[in-house]
Every structure is written in structure tokens, then in C-alpha cells.
């Protein structure tokens, strides 16, 4: 601290400002190192033990996990669940964001509140609400039966369809918030300019609005993907025991079987596979929107 001040006096005010700013980030950096980096390193270390007592170093846990074809299917299912949820949130969320842009400021506030409200409730509460909605005697089945659309109750609980439906609602704020924040920074005259030049609404949407809102769309997709692939509570409560995703495997290995090295391998597989997809998505996003930041 003292040396920083002395340097500041020597090098003038700019320098002192920069040092002070750098120091302000120090507590966060330390917390980050202690609470995130250290456990991650511990996790990596744990994965290189062979036995559940963590006594004998080796690669047996990695070999065991990746020697089982079932685990490949679990990884693929997990990533697919994320992609399906991303698709569903885009299909529902993008039009919703467009509607939001057309509303009066007062209605925008109301809609924003409705969008954010689910985030104020615990995931557990939201998930159990979906059980009520999707169950055999739930709202959806009652309505469809009543309308005569179906004669037998649909099985929605413990199916991937039901899980994707509920995750779509649960993750929607993560899609909408970045999307709306990017869209509301768009110059409203661009739409009018496009129309005055003879473009139809669809043409304006696909040649002007979608490319310019791509950064928000990409950010939303990344958040939804990361969040839905790791949504342990929703996955297990709505998906049940028959739909197995990586978070469930981790839970079983660490808290049921107590084989921590295997749990560590499963965790690292989840981290790496999710990060890979995210890196790919954001690379595509950056390429499609490089003209905006570049």
C-alpha cells in the first residue's frame, strides 16, 4: 500500500489512479481464488485417485467413467437437454422480446416484472409448481381432457418433454434480460428507415433486427444452456429417476455411493463439455456480430 502511494507520487496522478483501481479488485480476486479456483484444483486432484477412500493415486476413476458407454449417453443427453431448452427459450423468448419493444413504457414495466418474478421464487417452489401443472391430474391434462383433445391423460412428468417445458419457463429470464437490454439500445429509427426503403416487416426483422440483436441472443443462449444443463433440482424432480443427466450422476457418486474420485471425474466432464459448447456458441456469436464491436 505505502509503496503504491510513493510510486503514485513519482509517476503522477494517472498512475496512482490505476494502482488504486487495481487494488480495489483485490478482495474479489482473493475470494475468487479461495472459493472457486482452489476447490476446482481440489476437484482435479481428487479425480486422480483410484479408490473411494482417496488413498491410492492413479487414473482408474477416469478409465472407469469413460470405459462405461452409459456415461457417454448421459453426457450426450445432458448437452441435448441444454440445446433443446435453448431452442425452446429462443422460440418463446425472442417473439416475447419483440412484443416487449412495442409496448408502452408502462406495460413494459409490467411485463418486465412478470419476467423477473420467477427469479424471486426459489427453484424448488417453481419446480414443484410445475409438478402440479404437468401431473396426471394437472392443469394441462385437465384442460386437454375437458376440451376433448385427448382421451387419456398425457404423461408429461418424468419425460423429457415435460422437463424441457418447465425448464423453458424457469430459465426464461436468463434469455429475456440480455435480449431486452440489447434490443432497447437499438435505434428505433432503423425499423422506420427499413420500412421507408420498402422492406416488409419480415425483411426488417431478419435483415436488421435479428443481426443487431445477435449479441443479446447469444448471451441469452449461453446463460440458458449453462443453467439448464446443471439444473439438478428440476432435472431430478421433474425428470425423475428414469431420465439421467450428469448432475444426478455426480450427486449419486458423491452423496450416495461416496466415491468422490468418480464424482470428481463426472463433475469435470460436465464442466468441460458445457464449456466446450459455450465456447463454440460464443465463437459463432462473435463471428456473427463482429461488425458491431470490432
Amino acid at each position: 500500500m505505502t509503496s503504491a502511494v510513493v510510486t503514485a507520487e513519482i509517476y503522477g496522478e494517472r498512475r496512482s489512479l490505476r494502482l488504486a483501481e487495481w487494488q480495489l479488485a483485490l478482495p474479489l480476486a482473493l475470494a475468487f481464488a479461495a472459493l472457486f479456483l482452489a476447490p476446482l484444483l481440489l476437484l482435479v486432484a481428487t479425480s486422480f485417485f483410484n479408490d473411494d477412500k482417496i488413498t491410492e493415486p492413479g487414473f482408474a476413476s477416469w478409465a472407469k467413467f469413460f470405459g462405461d458407454p452409459f456415461n457417454y449417453k448421459v453426457i450426450a443427453d445432458t448437452l441435448l437437454l441444454g440445446l433443446k431448452t435453448v431452442c425452446a427459450t429462443v422460440i418463446v423468448g425472442y417473439p416475447l422480446a419483440l412484443v416487449y419493444m412495442d409496448l408502452s413504457p408502462r406495460l413494459q414495466k409490467v411485463l418486465l416484472f412478470i419476467i423477473i418474478m420467477p427469479m424471486l421464487l426459489s427453484v424448488v417452489v417453481r419446480t414443484f409448481a410445475w409438478i402440479v401443472v404437468l401431473g396426471r391430474e394437472g392443469v394441462v391434462n385437465q384442460a386437454l381432457l375437458g376440451l376433448g383433445v385427448i382421451s387419456e391423460p398425457l404423461r408429461l412428468l418424468q419425460t423429457e418433454l415435460g422437463l424441457v417445458i418447465s425448464l423453458t419457463q424457469i430459465e426464461m429470464p436468463l434469455m429475456l434480460l440480455p435480449l431486452i437490454s440489447v434490443m432497447s439500445r437499438l435505434d428505433p429509427n432503423l425499423r422506420d428507415a427499413s420500412a421507408a426503403l420498402g422492406a416488409s416487416r419480415w425483411r426488417t426483422l431478419f435483415t436488421v433486427i435479428v443481426p443487431l440483436s445477435a449479441p443479446g441472443l447469444v448471451a441469452g443462449c449461453l446463460l440458458v444452456f449453462a443453467s439448464s444443463t446443471t439444473a439438478f433440482i428440476s432435472q431430478t424432480v421433474i425428470g425423475g429417476v428414469r431420465l439421467i443427466y450428469l448432475p444426478l450422476v455426480i450427486w449419486q457418486q458423491s452423496l450416495v455411493v461416496y466415491h468422490w474420485p468418480l464424482a470428481a471425474v463426472a463433475s469435470l466432464s460436465l464442466v468441460v463439455s458445457v464449456l466446450t459448447v459455450i465456447a463454440a456458441l460464443s465463437y459463432l456469436g462473435r463471428r456473427s456480430s463482429r461488425h458491431l464491436q470490432g
Binding site: 427499413s194 420500412a195 421507408a196 426503403l197 420498402g198 436488421v208 443481426p211 443487431l212
Partner: protein, 374 residues
């Protein structure tokens, strides 16, 4: 399509008439445009001039089809276009902030309207090249808008609007963001293009000098209404209302009252202490309070009193180029500005009297309350 080739010797194609008929626009309870009527000739440039918030942009947005009016009609060549959506009106518009598509190059921006009309292939490229040549930006075709200066962006916006051969051109304060020299260049440029293409044009501006120099006619707006729609000279010399009078140019306001009306001559008793014989405005009766408006260059100073002059208290005298601006105050407290050509020898005798110049064209306006003079 070929008719738009920018060859100066070419006869300008016949433009369209644009008529705005009793147009009213409301935003909630507020009236933004209030019964505006304008008849614009083919190939004419009309400037919309008025204070901020008087409804100029709103009027343009209705003509372009972005905003629906509460009442009234817009007609092009005598045909109402109100039922048409914006993308079928063929109205070119240049926004104040240009609204170029930030993710498209200059050439893509200019080609946008052609592509939207389903044109493809080399004819599009040719036309884009021609438009870019016209605004002298051929070398910038591959740049993105944010890599251009304000003036260059403005020219791209103009090229983009003109590429689709609009029948009407709307310009919303297109020169506001430019510095003085560039603004003059662009004003000349726009005027030249507009003449060449014979485009019926509305130009919104805050700048009365710009309106005076670019427009064939000026519509002065105030609070959603057109106060006067006339040639620049007529607006300057014969303002119809006190608002127009005050908005265009500088003016001196002298309160007084009508002493008598004889035929079409009114005797005006100024508070400053003179009685003037002036042409009587319509419907003004003896005794009614009036305010006399006269331009600074239409007043003269004199060392001796006459029947038509009034006493003043001279203030500062400032040289401004070839002119001398005198400040003065009348006995009833009104501030005066008098402009005269600068003479070689300054007058030694103090000139304590002021009168109308022989060619002065003062205007008389009724005054609602005796005190509301300035």
C-alpha cells in the same frame, strides 16, 4: 430507372405534388399536430421551421407512414396515401441521426432499398455505384457507417434514400450535426440533387438561415399549427403573426395604441412618444392596443427631432463586419437595435432621435394586454 442518371444538362423529371389536408395527430391527450394544411408544388422545397416540440418531426412521420393521424389526409399527386403502410409509400426519408444500418457497409446500406424491392444482380451494383459517385463516396463503399465522419454518413443516408427513386423526399434536420462549412457544402449539394431529380422535398430545420437559403417556401410552425406558409421574403417582410415575426430574424417591438383610423391609414401612438401614419391592418379599431414591429435595418438615427421621430437613450455601438449595431432604449423602456452601414467618419453629434427609414416595412400586431410587449 435510367432517368435518374445525374447529368446536369438533363431536364428534371416532373415531381409529385404533396398535399397535407387538415392533419391532426394526437399522442394520448396531447395534440402534436393540429389541423395542418400544406399544398406543395412538384419539385418544390418546403422548409418546416419552428421551435422544439412544435410537431415538425411528427408531421414528417405521418407523411412517411410511421405514425397514424387522428384526422386529415395526406395526398400525393391528388391521391390519398393514408391507407398505405410505410413500405409502400415510396417516400424517401433522411433521419436527423441518419439511422444507417450499423452492420452493413456503405454499399449494402445504399443497396438495401433496391434489394427490398426484389432487385438482384449487376443492375443493383451499378445503381449503387452511381449513387455513391453522386454523393462523392465511391471510395468508401466497403466501410461501415461508424468508420465515416458525420458529413459522410449524412451523404450515405441521402444516397440510400435516393437510390430507390422516391417520389417525395423528407429531410429531418439533416444538417444539424455538421459544422458550419460542411453544412453549407451539404446544403448546396442537397439543393443540387433535389433540383436535378425534381424531387418534392420537405426539410425540417431549426435554423432560419438554412430555411431562407434552401427553401422555395417556408412553413413556420408553432404548437402543432402552421402559423404562416409563404416565400422566405414574404415571411421576413410581411409576417402574419407576432410569433412568426419574432421567430424569423431580429426585430424591434414598440408598444403603442391606435389613435385613429382614417380610411386605410391608422394613426399609431407609440409609447415611445411619436405618432406614426401606417397602413391599417384589417379589423383594427381606434383605441386598441397594438405592437409595432420593425427590423433593425429599417430604423434610422438622427440628431434632430421631427414629428415622426421619438427620443432614445443611446447605448453601446458595436461594429459587425460592414455594419454598425446600435443599442438604445426608448423613454417607455423598450430596448431597440438599430443597424446601419459603417461610415468612414463617425458622427460627432450625438443622435438622440430615432425614426422609421423611408423604405421601412413595419408590421402592426394587436396586443392582448397593454403590458405584454416583449
Amino acid at each position: 430507372m435510367q432517368a435518374l442518371a445525374p447529368t446536369p444538362q438533363q431536364v428534371a423529371p416532373a415531381g409529385r405534388t404533396l398535399d397535407v389536408d387538415n392533419l391532426t395527430v394526437r399522442y394520448g391527450a396531447a395534440v402534436a399536430v393540429d389541423g395542418v394544411a400544406l399544398g406543395i408544388e412538384p419539385g418544390e422545397v418546403v422548409a418546416l421551421l419552428g421551435p422544439s416540440g412544435c410537431g415538425k418531426t411528427t408531421l414528417l412521420r405521418v407523411i412517411a407512414g410511421f405514425v397514424r393521424q387522428a384526422g386529415g389526409r395526406v395526398l400525393v399527386d391528388g391521391t390519398a396515401i393514408d391507407h398505405l403502410p410505410a413500405n409502400q409509400r415510396n417516400v424517401g426519408i433522411v433521419f436527423q441521426n441518419y439511422a444507417l444500418f450499423p452492420h452493413m457497409t456503405v454499399a449494402e446500406n445504399v443497396a438495401y432499398g433496391l434489394r427490398a424491392r426484389g432487385q438482384r444482380g449487376p443492375s443493383v451494383d451499378q445503381r449503387v455505384e452511381r449513387m455513391l459517385e453522386m454523393v462523392q463516396l465511391g471510395a468508401f463503399r466497403a466501410r461501415l457507417p461508424r468508420q465515416l465522419s458525420g458529413g459522410q454518413q449524412q451523404r450515405v443516408a441521402l444516397a440510400r434514400a435516393l437510390a430507390v427513386e422516391p417520389s417525395i423526399l423528407l429531410l429531418d434536420e439533416p444538417f444539424a450535426a455538421l459544422d458550419r462549412n460542411l453544412r453549407l457544402d451539404m446544403q448546396i449539394e442537397v439543393k443540387r440533387l433535389q433540383r436535378q431529380l425534381g424531387l418534392t422535398t420537405i426539410l425540417v430545420t431549426h435554423d432560419q438561415d438554412e430555411a431562407m437559403s434552401v427553401a422555395d417556401r417556408i412553413a413556420v410552425m408553432n404548437r402543432g399549427k402552421v402559423e404562416q406558409f409563404d416565400t422566405p421574403v414574404a415571411i421576413y417582410d410581411r409576417p402574419k403573426t407576432l410569433f412568426v415575426n419574432g421567430f424569423i430574424g431580429t426585430t424591434n417591438l414598440l408598444p403603442g395604441k391606435i389613435a385613429a383610423v382614417v380610411g386605410d391609414t391608422a394613426m399609431v401612438e407609440l409609447g415611445a412618444g411619436a405618432t406614426l401614419r401606417l397602413p391599417a391592418p384589417q379589423g383594427i379599431a381606434a383605441g386598441s392596443p397594438v405592437v409595432l414591429s420593425v427590423r433593425p435595418e429599417q430604423l434610422v438615427l438622427s440628431p434632430i427631432a421631427t414629428t415622426d421621430s421619438w427620443a432614445i437613450e443611446p447605448g453601446l455601438s458595436l461594429p459587425l463586419g460592414s455594419q454598425l449595431i446600435h443599442e438604445a432604449r426608448t423613454v417607455d423602456g423598450a430596448a431597440l437595435k438599430i443597424v446601419e452601414p459603417r461610415r468612414h467618419t463617425p458622427t460627432e453629434v450625438p443622435r438622440r432621435f430615432c425614426a422609421l427609414a423611408t423604405d421601412a416595412r413595419p408590421s402592426l400586431f394587436p396586443r392582448s394586454t397593454p403590458t405584454a410587449t416583449e
